[in-house]
């Protein structure tokens, strides 16, 4: 599938001291409890929750404190409690772009009864490149990497601490 150093994919692994089912449920049902909504959200309203609808074709979105919702992507595969495939349609400008379709695959691998290895791959990142020219045109008038840059700056502050 992908070579280990595929430049178009980012791979992560986290070891969780929790049973597979709980890891799955926290990831999919309680995303709003752990996703850093203060930094990583796209709507104008302060985000209060992140929701994944529990079926293939379901929406993945944030909910603002005013009840508004902003799409992040869709559920491409829903296989409790072992595999989740999402499309992530948030552009480098931190805007929703339904044509972007980078993919996030999350695997939950039980390690005994009380632990789970969670593997995440964010792939097809080249689509950011493929959409770049178009994105540039779209944002020509309101060219704004502001959100991404603000996030960069946040991260920079964290890195320095």
């Amino acid at each position: 599938m992908n070579a280990p150093n595929d430049p178009n994919s980012v791979k992560k692994m986290v070891y969780v001291q929790a049973p597979q089912e709980i890891a799955w449920r926290v990831f999919t049902e309680k995303m709003g409890a752990w996703w850093p909504l203060a930094f990583y959200k796209i709507g104008k309203a302060p985000a209060v929750d992140a929701v994944i609808e529990p079926h293939p074709g379901g929406r993945w979105y944030e909910r603002g404190n005013d009840g508004s919702t902003c799409d992040w992507g869709t559920v491409l595969a829903w296989e409790p409690y072992s595999r989740l495939l999402l499309s992530w349609d948030v552009s480098a400008d931190w805007q929703y772009d339904p044509l972007l379709k980078t993919e996030i695959e999350v695997r939950f691998i039980a390690d005994g009864e009380d632990a789970t290895r969670v593997e995440l791959e964010h792939r097809k990142l080249d689509r950011y490149g493929a959409r770049r020219d178009e994105m540039r045109r779209i944002y020509e008038t309101e060219g704004d990497w502001g959100r991404l840059l603000a996030a960069f700056a946040q991260l920079a502050a964290t890195v320095k601490q």
Partner: protein
């Protein structure tokens, strides 16, 4: 593959609001120093200085067109993006791990 130093340099470079403004202007297309400086409350030499920091950070590139030197966003910016996503997922997955373990602890206490 970007090294940690390169990433830090990119982060540092974008930490400055004037430099972010310079970078933003280049997103709209290639620009000379003068074109970037136009309409900004910053002197041309200062803009030159900001451009060279951005260039050293690998965020922009420069090319010559006749006698003009034009600056542009580095098309290999995907590497910067990738580095950023790497940090993004580190942070996000750590938060997930903590929440899942908290939840598992509740379950164990009920047993």
């Amino acid at each position: 593959m970007a090294t940690l130093t390169q990433i830090e340099r990119a982060l540092d470079a974008l930490g400055d609001p004037t430099r972010r403004e310079v970078f933003k202007r280049l997103r709209k297309g290639n620009r000379s120093v003068r074109e970037v400086a136009d309409g900004m409350n910053v002197s041309r030499p200062a803009v030159s200085q900001h451009l060279s920091v951005l260039k050293a950070a690998g965020l922009i590139a420069v090319r010559s067109e006749g006698t003009r030197r034009l600056y542009e966003v580095d098309p290999h910016g995907i590497e910067v993006l990738r580095s950023w996503l790497d940090g993004f997922w580190n942070e996000t997955l750590l938060a997930f791990k903590q929440e899942a373990e908290k939840e598992a602890m509740k379950g164990r206490n009920l047993r």
